[in-house]
């Protein structure tokens, strides 16, 4: 599903040139649950953003679902992203103006789903994340863990083939963190492909494969076997 080949990304700031991603090659198949680890500043977020079509790259090849994304226009990227990729962030990034229900509904609105159908799907998701009784609340009225569950709900409501999560448990205590990881692995078992950036070995243990990044290079890959 994802195929990176000698991918390079450099940032030019003032006099310094930072090579955030350096000759990274990577294949992720459908149904995998991959975690990306490495020291701060090694390029994890950059990699995830490129995979999520949020950021560009300088050279190399990136094929997403059999499409070479190099020469896609902004509009085509939006089209490809919509409904195919869901995002989860460390700081949740929910919209305060909207209720829990409406936050989850938003991607469906952009997809052009009809309102009746939207309600059905959001209700199902609310149930799945266990926040049915909070649907009319504002995000800031929820705990961090609950907010992250809403963010996950929002990421999966369109049934995306790929879920990208950047330190989803970074702002949570270990109990809530584990709850979130349980949800993610359930989603993975239900068929979603997930790529997750994390600093926590505990979280990484939920995944099938750990990729270690140092200074923009992949230095090791480890397959995890679950009992």
């Amino acid at each position: 599903m994802i195929h990176l080949h000698h991918l390079v990304k450099t940032y030019n700031t003032r006099s310094v040139e930072t090579r955030a991603i350096s000759e990274v090659s990577l294949k992720v198949d459908r149904g995998e649950f991959v975690s990306v680890m490495g020291p701060s500043g090694c390029g994890k977020t950059t990699l995830l953003n490129i995979i999520g079509l949020l950021d560009s790259y300088d050279s190399g090849l990136y094929i997403f679902n059999d499409t070479d994304v190099r020469n896609l226009s902004e509009r085509e990227k939006v089209k490809l992203r919509k409904g195919n990729i869901g995002f989860i962030f460390q700081n949740f990034n929910l919209l305060d103006e909207l209720s829990v229900f409406e936050n989850i509904e938003l991607p469906l609105v952009y997809l052009g789903v009809k309102s009746g159908e939207r309600k059905k799907r959001v209700d199902r998701i609310l149930e799945q994340i266990g926040l049915g009784h909070r649907s009319a609340h504002s995000p800031y009225e929820l705990s961090g863990g609950q907010q992250q569950r809403v963010a996950i709900g929002r990421a999966i409501v369109t049934n995306p083939a790929l879920i990208l999560a950047d330190e989803p448990t970074g702002n949570l205590d270990s109990q809530h963190g584990n709850e979130i990881m349980e949800m993610l692995s359930n989603l993975n078992e239900a068929g979603s492909t997930i790529i997750m950036v994390t600093h926590s070995m505990n979280d990484a243990a939920y995944t099938n494969r750990i990729i270690k990044l140092v200074d923009g290079h992949i230095v090791s890959e480890k397959q995890l076997l679950h009992a």
């Binding site: 509009r75 939006v78 919509k82 409904g83 995002f87 103006e97 409406e102 952009y110």
Partner: protein, 801 residues
Amino acid sequence: MHKFRLKFAIRSLMKSRVYTLLNVMGLAIGLGVCIIVFLYLRSEITYDQHIPNYKEIYRVSSVFRVDEQLEEYGGAGVGLAPLLEREFPYVEGTTRLIHINESVLFKRPGVQAGNAGVALADRNYFRVFELPFLAGNPDNALSKPQSIVITRSFAEKYFEEELPLGQVINTNNYEYTVTGIIDDFPANTHHIFSALISSFYQDEKLESWENSLWQIEAHTFLRLNKPTEAGQLTESFPGFYDKYMAESGSGLQAGYDINLTRLDKVHFNNHVKYDQSSGNRGYLYAFSGIGLLILVLACINYVNMATVRSLRRIKEAGMQKVLGAGKREIVYQVLIESLVLGAAALLVALATVELVLEFTPLNSIMNKDLSLNLSRYSSLWWLAPLFAAIIAFLSGWFPAIYLSNVPALAAIKKGLVKRNRGLGVRKLLVGFQFTASVAVVITATLMYQQMDYVKQKDLGFNKEDVLLIPIRDTLTARSISDIRQKLARSPYVKSSSSAQTIPGKSVDRIVINFPGMEGVASQQVVDFMMVGADYFQTMEMEFVKGQGFNGQPEELETYPVVVNEAMVRMMGWKDPIGQQVEIVAPGQAENYPGQVIGVVRDFNAHSLHDDIEPTIMTYQEETAGYLHVRVDSENLLSALNDLEKTFAKLTPGVPFQFSFLNRDLFKLYEEEQRQSQLILYLTYLAIFISFLGLTGLASFTTNLKTREIGIRKVLGADVRQVVSLVFREMLWLIIISVVLALPLAYILTRGWLSNFAYTTNLHPLIFVSSGLLAILLAYIIISYHSIKIARVKAVDTLKYE
């Protein structure tokens, strides 16, 4: 989908309430002013169009040629209309109208008497003006003498419950029968009255018609079937002149011609004399300009504030993109918000306009009866919303594009979007706002000063506490000395005198010969006044030399005259007393010889628009004009009571009317008074709008500096230092705007003041203090915003992305 968007828009507007409130108010002001300007313009350009057949009616004006000078009058002799009808068969109808300028007192038993503006018309009036009748028959409503056609409000006032048709109503001298009721006139009509009395029944002989042609008496209207006939008529008028007027014309050494103006064009035909007050295109342009200016200022605000808000929404926009929104969706979202704001602003604007027109003196200042009558201005139904939508759309465009260009990555990363883009332009716009506001404030202050000066200025006579009673009929004129004697006994009357004219109003010009002089100096045109005994005492005028008139002069060889200082200066008289003059009486063989017996201190016989002219005054007791009565200001009511009793006794049947000299004089500046009031309104708006603009910019600047402020605070800066950090950023902008505003205001007021011959001093202090005040105000607004941020805990501002 749309519902969701709308909900989102309203929700996010509600979230930043202050922003929304300020923005709605700003936009509402712009729209409100535009609506009022629209109503004003409509009212001006639809003059007289309530008359169904206005396109067929032409006003006849008379063009006189005397000494190669052309003068046009908005009326004609009473015989012109019937003669034109006789000579030119294609003239469908004619009518004549005479306004009675003083209002007439109407009485009815059991009903309170009151005044009403009345006009006289001939029997054909309603055949030319096809005004719909509420009751009565237009064909013969005015065909009998003593008939009166009244307007709806006149009927309501005097007849209350009763049906007025066929009823009788009295004035002091006559009894009229109501023969018709018409609707009230709108304010935008040239000839307005509340009752129309049938007239012109005097001898309608050809000879008297012909004799009338050189006198302007009646407003005259023609009804023509085809527009081409107007040109045809004016072209063939010389034939008419040769037939009826050439003979008398050659005797007078004068010429005569007519002009035809279609009824709806009369309003802006304002060079014509003897006319009802007419419109001024300059006003039209000024009003439109003001409307546009306010609208532009309001839109600048909107863009500014929306941009400030966009800054706080960069992350949100990025997030929407991450979730699958494209550029188009973001633009759409922002524009919907803009439209929601625009709709709210429109509602506020409509409500405000209604309140302003209903409860403030704006209408009377503009001399209009504007109202938000949507049935009268049906186009407002769609025009106003459309206009609001366009404005909202245009103003929302810049923030929409700005936000839609935010990359998705901005949701995650800082510093991706340049936050101060367009800051220069925005500063320029706010500077423009500020310049305009300061200029308007200074202009308003100076105008106010000048109006105050006009009220206070020493005119050379004491204009306070003088009552004026018009002398119109011969009975009153003949009784003047009796009346004055009786008044002299009242303890509340200090002095009284009659005079033909009131200073400031219609002072005559006259030719004077100076027998002792040669060449040009031997003949001069000067101001001329005829005054009665005790005039100088009543008006409290000072004598520089000599004295005033003492009672009825005996049969003298020469007539005593009083002159003013300007006259003495012009003639260079060393010893003015005893100088000989000859008053040229036009049309009479002999001149009146006069001798100067006194010189009065210069006084303003004209309004302060004009300089003091050399003036000559003669004695004349029995004259039509005005009785001037100086009363004891402490006992004004008692004085009035005595006056009314005296007149009732000596001139029974003549309605008692009076006015105050000082108020009459101030009416000379009605136009300027009106302008200065309008400017005052404008000032409030401008101040408010630039307050909004400054608020927007200040919060924008502090916003950009939030992080910097936080760090500085951590390092130990106090609130004052933080304020000055932001203020310094904007100080130059404000100073430059103020500096630019000063000459602008100077130019504006200079032009306005040049209408006056006498002006208050343009004190530089006004300019300086207005400028300083503006800077102070700006400082306060900026402080408020910076302090708000400076007070926030440093940790929180640091977290702010």
